[in-house]
Symmetry: C2
Subunit: 370 residues, 2 copies
């Protein structure tokens, strides 16, 4: 993994900048450490990231039509040093236009940062060009060489492990985990975020894209990530993946639950979604689970390996434009579940973190000491 002292990004999000298809781009802009010089998306040329994320200096990022335009910006943030691929290509194959942008970036001396399943560094043309230009290709999804099944490790004394789970994929489990980590740190706690996907890795500089690990080792890899996190702090907040009822990704989700053996889970939910985010077979839909039943199912499934409790619900209220509507849904969900509920991305994580910390500290000792 690169660890260059100064890294300035151009983010490739051609045709799909936005909160869903561009969730890697959005995540890196919102939560990453490296300044972003420009976003490439010719369908949004002339707009600014502030229009999506709000008026903060970090979000003042122009959207341009091409790499050439990005390089020509003469940004006050300095010349870019890396191209970050901020979206996934449809069908998993690299479009021809992207190949061109990647090769041009390498030619311009930029490192290539990618979270795709297809490893850029394994492409002979890209690899040769990178060697010639002396730039680095980082494939965040490349799995670690360590291949071990879980050993049934117990958590260290005084370590609190919290996993974000969710009612669907792509609704904000990573963002919630990052917001909670921030609140925990601001509260003076030694807190650690555990990245389990490529975007989280880009943001936090370590971790494993668990969905790329050989399935026999996915529980074991999550266990190992938590072991590493426990050496760095006491409050471990693990980024969840997928959902336990997702036709395609449920196995990855369960490896997080049984591998990281959290004492507590935070259920992330996006009210207003009619059904699973799922368009593979057009005439089949997969409904979302009733929230209380799904919370119980998580506790039950976690519990067959190690006891765990859902201590809070984090809502993604982005489908409710009006703030009063969002607060109403939060209150309704609190009444429905009997749990602390908030939207920590929209309204700040402090209140929810306070409730989570209290909930974890109040856990039955038979849970807390696992």
């Amino acid at each position: 993994m690169t660890d260059s002292p100064v890294r300035r990004l151009v983010i490739l999000a051609e045709g799909r900048f936005g909160p869903h298809d561009g969730k890697t781009a959005m995540g890196v802009i919102r939560y990453g450490q490296d300044p972003v010089v420009a976003v490439i998306d010719s369908t949004n040329t002339g707009r600014n990231v502030r229009e999506w994320l709000g008026d903060r200096p970090r979000f003042d990022i122009p959207i341009v039509a091409s790499l050439a335009d990005a390089l020509a910006l003469g940004s006050s943030r300095g010349a870019p040093t890396a191209l970050l691929i901020g979206i996934a290509p449809t069908g998993g194959k690299l479009p021809a236009a992207w190949r061109r942008a990647i090769l041009d970036s390498i030619g311009a001396g930029l490192d290539i940062l990618s979270g795709l399943h297809t490893f850029i560094g394994d492409d002979p043309q890209f690899a040769a060009a990178a060697r010639a230009a002396g730039v680095e290709i980082v494939d965040y999804r490349r799995p670690p060489s360590r291949e071990e099944t879980a050993v049934g490790r117990a958590h260290g004394p005084g370590k609190h492990v919290i996993l974000t789970v969710g009612t669907d994929c792509a609704i904000g489990k990573m963002s919630v985990a990052l917001e909670l980590r921030r609140a925990a740190s601001e509260a003076g706690l030694a807190s650690v975020f555990v990245p389990t996907g490529q975007t989280g890795m880009m943001i936090d500089g370590w971790g494993v894209a668990v969905d790329r690990v050989v399935s026999d080792f996915s529980n074991g890899t999550c266990e190992w990530l938590v072991e590493q996190a426990e050496s760095k702090g006491d409050w471990i907040i693990v980024e969840g993946q997928g959902s336990l009822d997702h036709p395609a990704y449920s196995a990855v989700t369960l490896s997080l639950i049984h591998g990281s053996t959290p004492q507590a889970m935070v259920m992330v939910h996006k009210p207003g979604l009619p059904e699973h985010d799922w368009d593979h077979v057009p005439d089949r839909t997969f409904p979302l689970q009733p929230l209380n039943d799904f919370i119980r199912l998580h506790e039950q499934m976690a519990g067959v390996v190690a006891p765990s409790k859902v201590v809070a619900v984090a809502l993604n209220t982005s489908l409710y434009a009006d703030e009063a509507d969002a607060r109403r849904v939060i209150a309704e969900t609190a009444a429905e579940t009997g749990l602390p509920v908030d939207d920590p991305v929209r309204f700040g994580p402090q209140r929810l973190w306070g409730a989570i910390q209290a909930g974890v500290e109040a856990l039955d000792p038979t849970i807390a000491r696992r």
Copy 2:
């Protein structure tokens, strides 16, 4: 995969021939199509496989101390053509003595058949030796190049998909599936066994070792295996893996449940086991789940993607030496669960298959047509 017309096996099971550590060896001997010339296990030299598996002609296999002894047998079954690695090395690394046996086998003109996570064919020394000798190395666990997430495919009309699940790993889910397939075939049904592990693949000549697939694609790979099976027959019997409460393997188990979307499951259970087969952390034990609760949990977990019912329990009564004891446990389990129960390996699969077929045909149409 090799498809040679005549293949005669020597099985390497050094130090560990037996039903647990040598489960690959046992499975291939019991259910495979290729004759077995000899088993190598110097700790059991002079014994015969009949002592474990009973007095059938196929099981009349001498156990010898070395490859040289196997080659010197002059067996009436003919000279061996392949070495099959029938056990997994402790810690995943190939012991030095095995390297010798593999190289000597290649030198003697034998193909190498392996289900290890470590691919024999990727070892430069083995690969070079195989090239020089003109023999083939088959690594059954090598995943297919196809890498696709599940698409939410519905089963074809009139297709019945049955998955074996279990209360632990290594208790006989594959054997039960093979026995049920045999009974279904004998009953005149177009039945298909779906191998999802290396031993099943060695036996049936197709399939995927799902535990070796990248976790993002494990549900999708199971879905694809069932799609292939549906083109071959109407009664699809899928070999399960691991158990839903296993600290290390539960993610693989769930990928089978949500990927193959069985309309019916058969719960495999080994009464008398005190706890999970699990020795990684000596001072931690993982209890088995109460049977009825675990059956309900399977139906619930399956049901969040596609409805499914546990229609029978297949017991592995091998811890009850006395046949009357075994039959008593079967009766007790039937009373406890209210389901058809038998030990299809010990007492034959016909009775249990009859009950399963009836159970599947009686399924609620909302389940049966998924």
